[in-house]
C-alpha cells in the first residue's frame, strides 16, 4: 500500500519540521558533529553566485536522524546551500517523528536516511534525493570493495566532500530550473 506524498499532507508536515538551529537544539550532544562538519564546508564563488541568483522558492524537507553519520555529512551541506540561496527554505524532521513521511520514501526496502524531498513553493513534490550521492557512493565502494578492485572511470574525487557538495548543488540547480521554467509557476509569477 503506497503512502503517497501529496502537497496537502506535506503542507501539514512542514510546520512540524525544524529549521537548522532548532533541529540542532533537539540534541545538543549529537549536534556537535553537525556543527563541526558545517565549519568545514566552503562553497566556491561560482557556486555562491549560482545559488544567489535563484528566483523561485524551493522548500526542502530532509528526513534525517541527528545520530546518523550520513546525515551529519549531508545535512550541513544542505544548510550551506540554503544559507546561500535566498529562495531555498530547509527544514529537518526526524525519521521517527510521528509526522515523518519516511513511509513514502523507502529506499531498497529500508527506511534509509537522509532522504530529502524538494518541493515547489506550494508543497508540490519535485524530486527525492537519497540516500547518498554518487560521489560518496564511489568513495564508499573504493573503501569497502577494496583497493584491489579500483573503480574504473569513477575518478575518486581528491576531496570527497567537495564532490558531494557539487552533487547537492547540481540537484538543487536542476530543481530550481524545473520550477523556474514551469508553466504553472511562470503564469503565477508573471515571468
Amino acid at each position: 500500500m503506497d503512502v503517497r506524498l501529496r502537497s496537502a499532507d506535506l503542507a501539514t508536515i512542514w510546520p512540524q519540521a525544524l529549521a537548522w538551529p532548532d533541529y540542532l537544539a533537539s540534541d545538543e550532544d549529537k549536534a556537535q558533529a553537525w556543527t563541526r562538519t558545517a565549519e568545514t564546508i566552503t562553497l566556491t564563488t561560482p557556486q555562491r553566485a549560482l545559488l544567489a541568483g535563484f528566483t523561485r522558492q524551493i522548500r526542502v524537507l530532509m528526513v534525517s536522524g541527528i545520530w546518523c553519520g550520513d546525515c551529519v555529512r549531508q545535512g550541513p551541506i544542505a544548510q550551506a546551500i540554503a544559507e546561500a540561496a535566498p529562495g531555498v527554505e530547509l527544514r529537518f524532521i526526524d525519521r521517527d517523528h510521528p509526522a515523518s513521511p519516511i513511509g513514502a520514501m523507502r529506499i531498497n526496502d529500508g527506511e534509509r536516511v537522509p532522504v530529502t524531498l524538494f518541493m515547489a513553493e506550494d508543497f508540490e513534490p519535485v524530486q527525492l534525493l537519497g540516500d547518498r550521492t554518487l560521489q560518496y557512493y564511489r568513495h564508499m565502494a573504493a573503501q569497502q570493495i577494496g583497493a584491489a578492485c579500483p573503480v574504473p572511470g569513477a575518478g575518486l574525487p581528491e576531496d570527497v566532500q567537495n564532490g558531494v557538495i557539487q552533487d547537492w548543488i547540481d540537484a538543487t540547480e536542476r530543481v530550481h530550473l524545473l520550477l523556474r521554467l514551469s508553466n504553472r509557476l511562470r503564469q503565477r509569477h508573471g515571468d
Partner: protein, 191 residues
C-alpha cells in the same frame, strides 16, 4: 517519487522491452528513437563503468513515444541495459489512459511529466526515481527561454545528446553502488 514494490510490480510485468516499445511507435517517432540509440553507443570509459555493475536491477520507464526527452533518456537507458547484459531488465510503459493511475501517482510539480524512470532492486523494491529532464537539458531550456537571464552554472555541452547519456549513466551507477553496498543484498548474495 518513490512508490512501493506492490504498486510498481504489476506495472513492470505489463511493460514492454525497449525493442517492442519502440516498434509500437509510428514511423516518424520510431526514427527519432532509432537515431538517438545510434548516437548513444557507450564510449570505453562508460563501458568500463557498466562492466563493474554486479547487481541485477529492474528499470521501469513511464514515457511517451512522441516525447523528445523520452526518446533521449529511453535510448540512453537502452544502451546502458544493452551493455549490462542480463543485469538490467529495462521496460517501458506509454503514458496514456491505461497508465493514468501510475502517472498520477508519480506527478512532478503538479504535472504528469514524462519520462519518469524507476530504478529498482532485483526483487522490485524501488531505489530511486529519475524524472523528468536531466540537468543539462534544463540548462539548455533555460538558455533558450531566458537568454541572458538564465542562471545556469555550466556552459552548453559539446554534444547535448551524449551529455544526457552521461547523466543517466551516473544515476544508474549510483543505484548500482547503492544496491552493491546494501547490507540486505550483501546478505542475499553473500558478498
Amino acid at each position: 517519487m518513490l512508490l512501493s514494490k506492490e504498486t510498481l510490480g504489476p506495472w513492470f510485468e505489463q511493460a514492454a522491452s525497449f525493442q517492442t516499445f519502440v516498434a509500437g511507435a509510428d514511423p516518424g517517432h520510431q526514427s527519432v528513437w532509432a537515431e538517438r540509440f545510434d548516437r548513444l553507443e557507450l564510449n570505453d570509459e562508460q563501458q568500463a563503468v557498466v562492466q563493474r555493475f554486479e547487481r541485477p536491477m529492474q528499470v521501469l520507464c513511464l514515457t511517451g513515444r512522441w516525447c523528445g526527452d523520452c526518446a533521449l533518456q529511453g535510448a540512453a537507458l537502452g544502451r546502458i541495459a544493452l551493455a549490462a547484459g542480463e543485469l538490467i531488465d529495462l521496460r517501458f510503459l506509454e503514458r496514456g489512459e491505461t497508465t493514468a493511475e501510475l502517472a498520477v501517482a508519480c506527478m512532478i510539480n503538479a504535472g504528469m511529466r514524462v519520462p519518469v524512470t524507476f530504478l529498482m532492486a532485483q526483487d522490485g523494491h524501488p531505489a530511486a526515481c529519475l524524472g523528468d529532464r536531466t540537468l543539462s537539458r534544463w540548462r539548455s531550456m533555460a538558455r533558450k527561454a531566458l537568454g541572458a537571464d538564465a542562471n545556469v552554472s555550466a556552459p552548453a555541452p559539446e554534444d547535448p545528446v551524449r551529455a544526457v547519456l552521461q547523466e543517466v549513466l551516473d544515476e544508474v551507477e549510483r543505484v548500482q553502488w547503492l544496491l552493491r553496498l546494501s547490507p540486505r543484498l550483501r546478505a542475499m548474495h553473500g558478498d
